[in-house]
């Protein structure tokens, strides 16, 4: 029997169900492991007492005959989900020590499904970043090479899963924050259709883009988790989709309609946007992605050339809309009611200025400034309004593409994970690295990152799969079938590196 931390969610679920191991044992093992690997910087808060109490309860429920698939499965949550009983910082000094009186819907649902919360995971401050170097609580290291970044903003989640500190974690994705760190850390992550998971209890970055999703070590695990996370929350989140909860594990094992078991993806048309395969993609990433595409073909899929002509525009559009919304969303951090407040100040305005100057990091301030600028009188039409128009055109481009294909495939990021500090002083360089994930967020489409091999420095490469609205079952099925014939997702970073 392999070690407990090697088990993926589905396997852990089977072992727990078979009572080969108890949730308390698994939890103790993973808590010790997380403790031992604090140097990775992935955990901001570990809560052994709470976790063990939940594990004990899960074991008791199992003894009472409960058998939910996630019962007793430990996991951890990105620190942008508010959690009653555990601090929530969003990676910001502004919220140091903040305790929420309520729990995010996504976390609540996962807990109701029986999961055990080990603690909270590091991330870029207010989820703004692509390298997890913007956390007020220090960077997260990539478990494959601790001199490299894990990606961001869900870097703590990706690193913890890749290092097998937890079998699964929650993440949030505003412009690639689940997919890119998943790719950089060699794990599987899905950003669902906008509105599929409730945003209630997610510390808001850009409300029209933010979406929660699972990060784990296989598509099957993601399907298990997403089944618990997704579903309408109309009383708490007005942008929540009124789509009944689904069991995403139901379809992943089946061949596509009309396909045979040896060619389970027969009939699947995979669109390859020419803009995702240009000169901007590094050779190693391109080779890994091409090999993955060949694998999809071997499974019966056909490849179709498509175009997403406004891919490049997605960068300026995103970096107008997201900061605009952020500048407003972050106004509530004013030192009046909770969170950081400057120790000394002369008057109200001085209190605001000192509090916010001290509480926010550079990247957050940069985006507040950009956002405030693009919404200002005289600039609104030229920037914000124009960006909204192009956003609609980008969404239209995808609909045109989906006339020709069922899923879209390409790289998640142009390169593998870069080194810590490499782009820390060049924000535009890291904005440009988001080019393949932003348009999907702007269109509100579901997107996945699936491990697809290794590139420069032995670093993981992610294959991005994008589906049409609410086509998560098709995405997960494609990824799962891919993972039945590949082993990239089962590879682990060397223990000695950690």
């Amino acid at each position: 029997m392999s070690e407990i931390h090697e088990w993926r969610v589905a396997e852990l679920s089977r072992q727990l169900q078979a009572k080969a191991v108890s949730s308390v044992e698994v939890t103790q093992h993973l808590l010790a492991r997380a403790e031992a690997h604090q140097g990775l910087g992935s955990f901001l808060h570990l809560d052994p007492e709470r976790a063990l109490a939940q594990a004990k309860l899960a074991d008791a429920q199992r003894n009472d005959g409960h058998a939910a698939p996630l019962l007793g499965v430990p996991m951890a949550h990105k620190d942008v989900f508010v959690t009653e009983g555990m601090p929530t910082t969003a990676g910001s000094k502004m919220l140091a020590g903040y305790q929420s009186p309520f729990t995010a819907t996504v976390v609540r649902r996962l807990m109701e499904a029986g999961t055990v919360s080990l603690g909270k995971l590091n991330c870029d401050e207010f989820a703004m970043g692509s390298a997890n170097e913007n956390s007020a609580y220090g960077p997260v290291k990539n478990p494959w090479d601790v001199t490299r970044v894990p990606g961001g903003s869900s870097g703590g989640s990706a690193a913890a899963v890749a290092a097998r500190l937890v079998p699964a974690a929650t993440g949030t994705d505003t412009g690639g924050s689940i997919r890119q760190p998943a790719a950089f850390c060699g794990i599987t992550g899905i950003k669902p259709t906008y509105g599929l998971c409730s945003r209630y209890g997610m510390v808001a970055f850009a409300s029209s883009l933010d979406q929660a999703g699972p990060m784990a070590r296989s598509a099957e695990d993601c399907a298990l988790l997403l089944s618990a996370m997704a579903g309408p929350d109309l009383d708490r989140d007005a942008t929540s989709l009124d789509v009944p909860a689904r069991d995403f594990t139901q379809t992943i094992n089946q061949p596509r309609a009309g396909a045979t078991p040896d060619k389970p993806l027969s009939g699947l048309r995979v669109g390859l946007p020419k803009e995702f395969f240009g000169a901007g993609v590094s050779t190693d990433v391109n080779e890994a992605v091409q090999a993955a595409l060949a694998q999809l073909t071997a499974l019966g899929a056909t490849l179709v050339d498509i175009s997403l002509p406004r891919t490049e525009l997605s960068i300026p559009v995103y970096y107008i809309i997201a900061p605009a919304e952020a500048s407003s969303n972050l106004s509530r951090f004013d030192g009046v009611r909770y969170g950081h407040r400057a120790a000394a100040y002369d008057d109200l305005i001085d209190m605001y200025q000192k509090t916010r100057s001290e509480g926010f990091g550079d990247e957050v301030k940069r985006r507040i400034l950009i956002g405030t600028y693009v919404l200002s009188h005289g600039y609104y039409d030229a920037y914000y309004l124009q960006a909204q128009k192009i956003r609609r055109l980008i969404a239209n481009d995808f609909q045109a593409a989906f006339q020709q294909c069922d899923v879209i495939a390409g790289p998640v990021a142009p390169t593998v994970a870069w080194h810590l500090g490499e782009k820390a002083n060049d924000p535009v360089a890291s904005y440009l690295a988001d080019i393949f994930t932003l348009s999907i967020s702007l269109a509100g489409l579901p997107g996945m990152s699936v491990p697809a091999g290794f590139g420069e420095g032995g670093m993981p490469v992610g294959l991005q799969l994008v589906g049409n609205y609410l086509k998560e079952p098709e995405l997960l099925q494609t990824a799962h079938q891919f993972q039945q014939v590949t082993s990239w997702h089962t590879a682990s970073p060397k223990e000695s590196v950690l």
Partner: protein, 490 residues
Amino acid sequence: MSAPAAQASLLVNGYEVVIGFETHAQLSTASKIFSRSAVAFGAEPNVHASPVDLALPGALPVMNKGAVERAIQLGLAVNAHVAEKSVFARKNYFYPDLPKGYQISQFEIPVVQGGEVSFFLGDEKKTVRLVRAHLEEDAGKSLHEDAALGGGGQSGIDLNRAGTPLLEIVTEPDIRSTAEAVAYAKELHKIVTWIGICDGNMQEGSFRCDANVSVRKPGAPLGTRREIKNLNSFKFMQQAIDYEIRWQIEQIEDGHAIQQATVLFDPDTGETRAMRTKEDAADYRYFPDPDLPPLVISREWVDRVRSEMAELPRVMAERFVRDYGLPEYDATTLTQSQAMAAYFEATAKASGQAKLASNWIMVEVARRLNQDDIDFDAIPVASTQLAALIGRIVDNTISNNAAKQVFDALWQGEREVDAIIEAKGLKQMNDTGALESIIDEVLAGNADNIAQYKAGKDKAFNALVGQVMKASKGKANPAQVNVLLKAKLD
């Protein structure tokens, strides 16, 4: 948009007054516009503040359908267009009683578009066009120098009011005098309380008016306006606008230009003073709120609200004109409130005398209510009693003057009209024989008046009628006395 031509009679020192209104009507929902906290006045600070109202991280607004429904009602009541799709926007500014750092309001596309409010000023009908009415949330309250905070320059924040649903109703600058302004505000107040979307309590801030006032020479372009904020009584409204008009004219006459400003009225000094000028005007950076999808209102929803709404005052007034033959002025006056209208209808039906019922209610009843400072809901005289009283006037049992005495008795709590007439001996003398003998006696003792009358002096005739009435102790039927006296003299 062209303003109506200036009416010479409304000019103040040769200036035309131009006023537009912005009214915040607090909607009578049980819970807040975007959270489930209760809307309640006078509770301990921050008792009614949920994570949404406190703007805690992760909290999100969800639209209260009850507030939308009330906006639809207002739209229908003022003949406006209820937008199929309207948009919530964020108005961004920092203030401690604004927890999110932005107010959720409607900016470019409001829920209610256009419409009008009509009212009578004297017997002249006036119509004020509405620009729009939009839904928004109220802010909290700053408690400055609160004793409980121990002084020391500290301020407290009470968020009980934060998120209270408001409908901001905006007019075109169609109002031309203080009297029109107050009449408009009263009419709007009547509409919102009539349809029940607002309790109308001005002291508690449920109905707050801002008046944009400017003056100009007739025919000149619109003058620079100053906005008087938070007028919370009709009396202050009148004082404030009167003062502001005088002040602006003085400034202009003294050669000073008016600066656009927001002003507050101080009831103690009776003056308005500027809080901030245009230079301080914030850039609110409005943009559509990404937390709230566009507000979609189906025609079915509007139709359902329409079918469930009480008859509107103007519709009821039209019906009073049509069914009871009342003048438009009466019909409008009687539809000041649901209670008044209901009282009229009951009295008119029971007496079969709509016009008399109208007169009595508009004059005597209104006067007594006003005197005792009570509402129609608490009126001590039942409509059946008033109808009985009217019946005794119509059948000549009592005179109008006597009827007033009966009404007084009813007001004091007596019940039976006929018993009162009997007890007070108010029955009119309708017996021709008895009257004639009184007249003969009066004529016998007033030769002077007879002579004057014959010489063509009408006054002398009135003096004789008065003598007869006096001799009958007021019980003679004046009309009958007229006829009999004329017959004797001519």
